[in-house]
Symmetry: D5
Subunit: 145 residues, 10 copies
Amino acid sequence: MTRCECTAKIMAAKQSKGLTFQNIATAIGRDPVWTAAALHGQGALDAAEAGKIAELLGLEPAVAALLQQRDSPDLPMPPTDPLIYRFYEIVLAYGPTLREVIREEFGDGIMSAIDFSMNVERVPNPKGDRVRVTMEGKFLSFTKW
Amino acid sequence: MTRCECTAKIMAAKQSKGLTFQNIATAIGRDPVWTAAALHGQGALDAAEAGKIAELLGLEPAVAALLQQRDSPDLPMPPTDPLIYRFYEIVLAYGPTLREVIREEFGDGIMSAIDFSMNVERVPNPKGDRVRVTMEGKFLSFTKW
Amino acid sequence: MTRCECTAKIMAAKQSKGLTFQNIATAIGRDPVWTAAALHGQGALDAAEAGKIAELLGLEPAVAALLQQRDSPDLPMPPTDPLIYRFYEIVLAYGPTLREVIREEFGDGIMSAIDFSMNVERVPNPKGDRVRVTMEGKFLSFTKW
Amino acid sequence: MTRCECTAKIMAAKQSKGLTFQNIATAIGRDPVWTAAALHGQGALDAAEAGKIAELLGLEPAVAALLQQRDSPDLPMPPTDPLIYRFYEIVLAYGPTLREVIREEFGDGIMSAIDFSMNVERVPNPKGDRVRVTMEGKFLSFTKW
Amino acid sequence: MTRCECTAKIMAAKQSKGLTFQNIATAIGRDPVWTAAALHGQGALDAAEAGKIAELLGLEPAVAALLQQRDSPDLPMPPTDPLIYRFYEIVLAYGPTLREVIREEFGDGIMSAIDFSMNVERVPNPKGDRVRVTMEGKFLSFTKW
Amino acid sequence: MTRCECTAKIMAAKQSKGLTFQNIATAIGRDPVWTAAALHGQGALDAAEAGKIAELLGLEPAVAALLQQRDSPDLPMPPTDPLIYRFYEIVLAYGPTLREVIREEFGDGIMSAIDFSMNVERVPNPKGDRVRVTMEGKFLSFTKW
Amino acid sequence: MTRCECTAKIMAAKQSKGLTFQNIATAIGRDPVWTAAALHGQGALDAAEAGKIAELLGLEPAVAALLQQRDSPDLPMPPTDPLIYRFYEIVLAYGPTLREVIREEFGDGIMSAIDFSMNVERVPNPKGDRVRVTMEGKFLSFTKW
Amino acid sequence: MTRCECTAKIMAAKQSKGLTFQNIATAIGRDPVWTAAALHGQGALDAAEAGKIAELLGLEPAVAALLQQRDSPDLPMPPTDPLIYRFYEIVLAYGPTLREVIREEFGDGIMSAIDFSMNVERVPNPKGDRVRVTMEGKFLSFTKW
Amino acid sequence: MTRCECTAKIMAAKQSKGLTFQNIATAIGRDPVWTAAALHGQGALDAAEAGKIAELLGLEPAVAALLQQRDSPDLPMPPTDPLIYRFYEIVLAYGPTLREVIREEFGDGIMSAIDFSMNVERVPNPKGDRVRVTMEGKFLSFTKW
Amino acid sequence: MTRCECTAKIMAAKQSKGLTFQNIATAIGRDPVWTAAALHGQGALDAAEAGKIAELLGLEPAVAALLQQRDSPDLPMPPTDPLIYRFYEIVLAYGPTLREVIREEFGDGIMSAIDFSMNVERVPNPKGDRVRVTMEGKFLSFTKW
């Protein structure tokens, strides 16, 4: 079973059992976005967490084993998926702006994508609800040595 | 004067006058991130806004003219800049997660990158301050016809 | 069964039963181009629609399940297929023209490819019939914030 | 003067004289989208047409000379411009659908992008006006020999 | 059976039966180069032609079915095959020359690759025989509208 | 003066003097397609030929010097020019066919693109004249050693 | 059996039987480098040669059949293999030098890679033995026509 | 003066003075291929050598300065130049063969492209003279540690 | 069994037996980083070493056979794995610095990646432990000939 | 003055004044590798440091201004420079090894390329001196949230 087949199996079980990411996250006491990322291979569960999820989804131990290991991302770039492309486009269009705004406030460094968390909310709006994605990462200064 | 030279001129004037994006944004009554984006060509100022900024920065009318026109993004992809790359990496690693989380909540559609706003904050933290970037876009459903 | 194998199965059943996209579209009360797109994974049928189509084509429930989920596009770019390449060439040659004509009429924004519909007609012509493709999408203004 | 500088000069003159593509098209008795394409190098004006446009815009004879010659398209692909990208995305997502729908109706061949015309309209809509782009090309059958 | 496996099966049967493209072409009353192209998926046989070829080669009905459908080209570009690369090199080196020579003679347009035929001959030569490839396509003028 | 500027100068002089490739070819006793190729840098004139052409076009000695040296091809691939793209598409679609047809007739080898000539003709046709391009190259067998 | 699996089978049999390329070459009366190339699909053995090799290696007739057919090269470029990359680097670094040196000596043309042979020798050296690769191809002049 | 302009200046002076690579190499007591490489930036002359060459070619001290510094290679890959492409094709086709032949003889390692030399000879042949290129590099074993 | 499946099998056995790279390295008397590289195909064990490792991990002889052969690297570039990307980024950002610093100290040449070793250490640090990677390769001078 | 021209100016001044990176680093009390990186734009000097370096090299204030700003890396990838390529090859070949070795020791995370330092040493060796490059970065764990 490849990691990709593992993800497909998890998503199918989630759908057939009518579970949400929130339901699964609650079972292990974690955030639903992080849980969704881990189910897609972008996070490493510990053995207890992985066991609970395999049990909740009714999946075999091999799934629990794979869930304990981060996978390398595997996505065509530029993304062909329209939803994901919009985030790529934001980086393409606003990347230099983000660099200058962050430099002005924090100095010479970056926002970590490792010491990092993200969440997604629905913002009700009479003209059409909005998606709000919040990304937060530690500021890291470039070392001078 | 290309748009790129225009941006360089603006950034140099901003630095030599000791202005922040907030100072410039205040002069035209807009958000500092949007203002920074527009100074980089990713937004179109109206004639009054462009005029005020040219005056504030002590730049010629040709700058004000260019500021009224959105430019096509021009960035090597994958980004070679370390700060911008981290955002690209977030899309690479968490793109499929974002798609599934947003689909679960909103159904079949995307977050708009056009009917969209973004802001950047400093989150104080004793282990090192954090960068928080909030992106918000209208949810758009795919039409069925 | 991958989505790609699913599409192949659908197209083979359509051909062996002598059905047109119009026939299939009529069965679910939708437009034939949208229906063709959904059969190729670029649209999400609801459960009732998917069930009717699986029945009409004499295909198993797994097909109906896959038809309820949009798939990420998967096409070599530039397209190697001559018919599809001609549309790519239109974007390559006339993209900047479309941008300037739409900007002049609508202002700073885009035509949505999500809140979007498309149709195809035959235009009889004594020198050889013509293909007419009409694309229509909501105009979206860039937010200023 | 490169073709690219020539286009920039034309667009600047058009803007400073407050002319629309329709105004320029009327002066030479052609369609405004075709006229816009020709001004961008994707069409060849005859000497009389080129002369009228140079006069209307107040530009030198070298511009009129360049307007008589089609230029090779020059656009980054995938397009970095958000408006043009949406058309690229339509080809990416709906290309295979267009091929199957056109084949079903016309048989084994393509829609010409040379014996071709295109127009752009505003479709008023209470939920937000829509952009309608109509593309029409001669159907060409593959020769069997 | 993929189209690629189908081609391999056809070529193996052709070889084991000691048939030439001319032999196969004669059976269906067509040109050998067109026949070779159709066997490689670059042409669509009608049902009668496909049936005759399947019979001649002793292959199953599934082959006859696939032969009635054009396939999208699938070749690494630049070609890694030395023979095919030489034709690619001719386009690379002489493409601009072909454009200017054809424009001078025919005006603003292209040679069609759809309303098109091609043949291959051996030209005896004491210094070594020569390959002659003749390509012929309808001239298509760009529409002005 | 780069080779590219040299070509532009030559083409402009050719047009302003109303000369055809045939006229220029006649002056040096060569074929018009070869002459056109050499003017584009894909062929090396000898000193006498180069001198005659510079004189005929009224251009300076530096042009004559450059005409004596072959230039490396410089064309975006895939070609963005619609006319040149059609030849690329022919290689993409019919490359494997050409390989098999030539192998059947000549054995294991290639058609030379160096010991090579090409010509272009107009073929009158009541349904629209046709472009005929003939390519001829020496067959070269792979050495076995 | 693909050509790639065929090569793997050949190399495994060669190793398990303790044969060298020289041993195999001797069996068919050819050069060891050419023999190695043919075993990798870059050369076409005749039926007698292929039969002898299949027998020597103890492999089935299907291997002998595949050995009679040249395969298209299939190598990632730039090469990821360190040994092969060094040859790529030689082309990258010394390509223009080779062109100028060969032009000075031979005039306007190329070294054939088809009417071509290559050999590999060990050159003993007290500071470490050296690899000597000799490539030899017929000089081909560009035709002027 | 860029290194590229420097090379152009050197080649022009070499041609106008009627010097061969051998003539220049003799002046500094080196091999003509190495000398040609150094003139193209792929080798570093010492101050005395650089001075002699600048004097011989009648060029300014800035040329002598640049000749003392190796330049990074700058060549489109795959090469568009037909002569250089043939060497690329040799690597593409025969790379895996070279790896296996060298491994069989020398073990696990590579041929150095740094501790390396190359020469070019004319091999007279009644059927057409041949180009012989000899490459020789130190064999380097992979370290085991 | 491909090399990739072989690596997966090795890593799974290592994990299920609770072995470290150091444990495995000790069994064959080598460095743990070199051992890890060899297990990933980037190094060639001798028969005795391979046998000991297969025994220690409880794996079949086919694994021992594959461990005796270096594999070509197979990694997407730029790396999609965040840990590996950081090393790629170091080359991207500091490559020119490394070249100039090494040239200043050693002259015109390179650091060998073949006569090369590497190690990894943990450097305790109160602000967070650090990873230290030491790379050491023989300096090789470019030959002048 | 672009950053690239600035670097060229700095390197020329360094050479003509006979200064080493160590000399320049001493003037500002920093490490020579970091100093070399900053001179290449991969580090930001403070105003005092930049001023001292401009004075030491005898360069104008504009250089001092540019030295205070980090530049985005700009290097062809894969690197065409042989020295830099060797480091790229190390990442290509040993990237997965580094990931597994670091994960085994540190857990799920990365080595920072920002909170990072590097140094270069000469290691004397009777068989030829060696280059030792030491990279050290803070280990960062992926956040679980």
